[in-house]
């Protein structure tokens, strides 16, 4: 293996990985099959670990593969598989172009106290209190939020622009998608992390990964005993220091011929930068004698750093402009519990296992999921919650349960999902159009896929809704369709523990096939 080849390989490989992750998190048309998404997510360290400790199956042991990989090769995960790490490399590259004259990495001392303190606190807090701190710091989830919060809206704007242009010429390859945002509070945390990470990587390379990221620190510990690592051929080295200047982890002490393996992310930039070919990547302990060909200049120009772009608002739901009934509804909905997505089993399970990567938010074809603010309490911040004013859970769909990388949502078969009661319908007669306006409506019953909401005779020709909670699955279509404001006349109250709904009763019709025209 020639060491100079390694850097090229790393760049090509990681570019493909980054593009794949980006596509997955902006795939607003659900074009990518779930199967491939799951392949991509399998070796993601934190999601896989959460899933493994929940399910205890080998099928969820992607993080163990990463542990083995690290013991073998060092922190290659950080350069090859971590989307946030690769994204930072792109950003760092841009930083290098801008500040060519005066950016030199050089060797810096590790932030030992900060990083091990953060790692201990994260592990401790996760074991004692739950997943909350991990949610904030997991690099995969941070990346997912960037994609969902910042990149996807940009893509939607571009899509809508194209849809408008093409639509005028009767070409409907693109379709317009209404853009509606999450509440601004929701953006504060991802924006803070976006600023922190992009500024750190722009100026300081992999500082975030080597100071804050708990995965980076943990894998750094493991790589202290890794078999393969960057080595100096001391007799060839002229102590020119080029390797140290090229090291975005600032971990090469060229004067003492020492590489801090706990911070080295195996990007192989140093190998390429060395004019004497005195650096190589190989088995620890073996002599570095490899002859390397001269490396060409850097060619890789990163694609646009879409992460830096962002607009604050977007959506793809079937959101309708609020209609204007004559008078406002008066009775407030009595919500006792938020509605968490199907496949969660219970809100408790969901809160314990969700790292708020936002994959389900992106994947939901109806855009009914939003990151929570207060619904689950402060510890459930950003974990997805159903918003039935925005949209509803489509009956024939299980996508969110399939894409979840942490098993916060477990896969449901469609038939099982159709009987999974995530909440129960409640009817407020005093808000209902039929009672307040004495006119027909029935939007709720029309929308109900199980007829848990049905109409019974009221005054004159009118019919009014009645509900049967037993067969309700809590999809929220009734609540979404109800036209009353500000309070809905029908709403879904979440089930803290999901229940099994009864099957709707099926009766043969009394009407038969006609043999004559009845008119």
């Amino acid at each position: 293996m020639t060491s100079s080849f390694l850097r090229k390989f790393r760049i090509v490989f990681s570019a493909i990985v980054l593009v794949c992750f980006m596509l997955v998190f902006i795939d607003f048309r659900s074009l990518i099959p779930v199967k491939y998404i799951n392949y991509l997510f399998y070796p993601q360290f934190i999601p896989s670990a959460v899933k493994y400790f929940n399910l205890k199956t080998v099928a969820a042991a992607g993080f163990l593969v990463v542990v083995l990989l690290t013991l073998l090769s060092g922190r290659t995960y950080c350069s090859f598989l971590c989307p946030l790490g690769i994204g930072q490399d792109v950003n760092s590259r841009i930083g290098g172009k801008i500040r060519k004259k005066f950016r030199r990495f050089g060797f810096k001392k590790p932030h030992t106290i900060v990083r091990y303190t953060l790692l201990s606190i994260t592990i401790g807090a996760t074991i004692i209190w739950g997943i909350y701190l991990l949610t904030l710091l997991d690099p995969f989830s941070i990346f997912g939020r960037f994609g969902t919060f910042f990149v996807k809206p940009v893509i939607l704007v571009v899509n809508n622009f194209l849809a408008n242009i093409f639509g005028k010429f009767d070409i409907y390859t693109f379709n317009h998608i209404d853009i509606k945002g999450f509440s601004l509070v929701i953006y504060s945390l991802p924006v803070a992390f976006l600023l922190l990470i992009s500024i750190m990587s722009l100026i300081k390379g992999r500082l975030y990964c080597n100071m804050i990221c708990p995965v980076g620190t943990l894998l750094g510990l493991l790589s202290k005993i890794s078999l393969f690592r960057i080595k100096f051929n001391e007799s060839e080295c002229t102590r020119c220091g080029r390797c140290s200047l090229a090291c975005k982890s600032t971990c090469i002490d060229f004067l003492n011929h020492n590489v801090d393996v706990s911070r080295c992310v195996d990007c192989f930039n140093c190998i390429t930068s060395c004019p004497e070919k005195a650096l190589s990547y190989g088995l620890v302990g073996s002599k570095s004698t490899e002859q390397k060909t001269d490396e060409s200049k850097r060619r890789f120009i990163a694609g646009s750093m879409l992460m830096l772009l962002g607009v604050s608002q977007y959506s793809k739901g079937q959101d309708k402009r609020a209609p204007v009934p004559k008078r406002e509804s008066t009775v407030k909905e009595a919500i006792t519990s938020p509605v968490c997505p199907p496949g969660a089993g219970s809100i408790e399970h969901f809160n314990k296992h969700c790292t708020a990567c936002s994959m389900c938010i992106t994947a939901c074809p109806n855009n009914v999921l939003i990151p929570s603010v207060r619904q689950y309490g402060i510890t459930g911040l950003l974990q997805p919650v159903m918003d039935y004013h925005r949209s509803f859970c489509t009956f024939n769909c299980t996508v969110c349960t399939e894409v979840c990388p942490t098993s916060a949502l477990n896969p449901l078969l469609l038939e099982a999902k159709k009987l999974t009661q995530i909440g129960k319908v409640n009817f407020i007669k005093d808000n209902c159009i039929v009672k307040t306006e004495k006119t027909a409506c029935g939007a709720c019953s029309e929308a109900c896929p199980t007829k848990a909401v049905y109409m019974i005779p009221y005054e004159g020709n009118l019919v009014i809704p009645e509900t049967n909670q037993d067969i309700c699955i809590g999809c929220g279509h009734c609540e979404f369709a109800c036209p009353t404001i500000p309070y809905k006349a029908i709403y879904v109250d979440g089930n803290p523990v999901h229940l099994a709904a009864k099957k709707p009763e099926i009766k043969e019709s009394e009407i038969t096939t006609p043999v004559e025209f009845p008119f």
């Binding site: 048309r29 659900s30 809508n160 849809a163 408008n164 639509g167 005028k168 009767d170 409907y172 379709n175 317009h176 998608i177 209404d178 079937q318 309708k320 402009r321 609020a322 209609p323 204007v324 009934p325 004559k326 074809p365 109806n366 489509t394 009956f395 024939n396 769909c397 159009i433 306006e437 006119t439 027909a440 409506c441 029935g442 939007a443 019953s445 029309e446 929308a447 109900c448 896929p449 199980t450 007829k451 049905y454 109409m455 020709n461 019919v463 369709a481 036209p483 009353t484 709707p504 099926i506 009766k507 043969e508 019709s509 009407i511 038969t512 096939t513 006609p514 025209f517 009845p518 008119f519």
Partner: protein, 306 residues
């Protein structure tokens, strides 16, 4: 001013010409040739959705009665729900396909198909089978999922519904063919011709909260009326409508009603469903407003059994 119209004409002829054309001139395009059709209504029973249409349209004098050479046609089925064709919640795809084929045979330049779905539109277009059927016949399937596609229009004389936002493709088309499916409806008792219009507009929540029956009748005042209504009564959802729960909700009636009078079409459809048309409030309201004739006895109806 209409966005599409503005764009096209201003590219070609400049702003002034474009403005003038899009403000007026529609009436001529919409001159209805239907007045000379042989019958007010043709009812067919006993065939397949497509073969019944072949016979029905022939009895009416052929598609050429409604579609002229070079015209743009909007075929508007009911594509409301994300279910398979056998459950009868959406217009039969075979019927939609055959209508499109007849339009092209009559010389239509372009045929469009769309509906403002209730369920997720991508899945609904797909699982209803209509997207595939329409495309295979050469029609353009147009999305209706975003308010961006809808343009404000006025409904002079509307009692409750005085304005609405309708899909731009309705404004662009020269001919509008209404292709509802007959279904039970939990609230209005029945959905067929007039109620199918709810898929043309964006803000139907307004209808629900402002006297639904009156709004349904009011909308029928709007100038872009269908040249032809084809009511699909092949698989008829007789209960749990308009969405349905299971195949037990569906009765195979193997029928079809073709008519130029959508009020009469709704009356005939109600009778198929075994509902008294007087009990479906929007029918007598529309009759009184002069939007059609609910007295089938006074109409010239051809009944065909295959």
């Amino acid at each position: 001013m209409r966005r599409r119209e503005f764009f096209k004409t201003s590219v070609g002829a400049g702003f002034a010409a474009g403005a003038a054309l899009s403000m007026g001139g529609y009436e001529k395009l919409w001159a209805s040739p239907a007045a000379s059709a042989k019958y007010d209504m043709v009812a067919v029973m006993g065939g397949n959705p497509d073969s019944m249409f072949d016979i029905g349209i022939q009895e009416l004098g052929g598609m050429g009665m409604f579609v002229q050479k070079g015209q743009k046609v909007l075929v508007k089925p009911n594509i409301g729900w994300d279910v398979i064709p056998e459950l009868g919640a959406n217009t039969n795809p075979a019927l939609v396909k055959r209508i499109i084929e007849h339009c092209f045979k009559a010389g239509a330049k372009e045929v469009y198909v769309f509906d403002h779905t209730c369920d997720n539109w991508v899945n609904t277009y797909k699982n209803s089978g209509i997207e595939k059927a329409a495309k295979s016949a050469g029609a353009k399937v147009v999305p209706g999922n975003s308010e961006n596609y809808y343009q404000a229009i006025e409904i002079p004389g509307g009692i409750k519904l005085k304005t609405a936002k309708v899909h731009e493709i309705l404004l662009e088309a020269d001919v509008f063919i209404n292709v509802p499916v007959l279904k039970d409806h939990n609230s209005t008792r029945m959905t067929a011709c007039l109620k199918n219009n709810m898929g043309l507009v964006w803000d139907r929540g307004y209808w629900h909260s402002n006297n639904l029956h009156q709004c349904i009748a009011d909308y029928a005042l709007y100038e872009k009326k269908p040249a032809l209504n084809v009511v699909d009564c092949y698989n008829v959802m007789v209960k749990h409508g308009p969405q349905g729960v299971s195949k037990e909700d569906v009765v195979q009636m193997k029928s079809q009603i073709l008519t130029t009078d959508w009020v009469a079409g709704d009356v005939a459809a109600a009778k198929m469903l075994g509902v008294d048309p007087q009990k479906i409030d929007y029918i007598p309201i529309a009759h009184k407003m002069g939007l059609g004739n609910m007295n089938l006895e006074s109409l010239n109806i051809k009944r065909i059994k295959m």
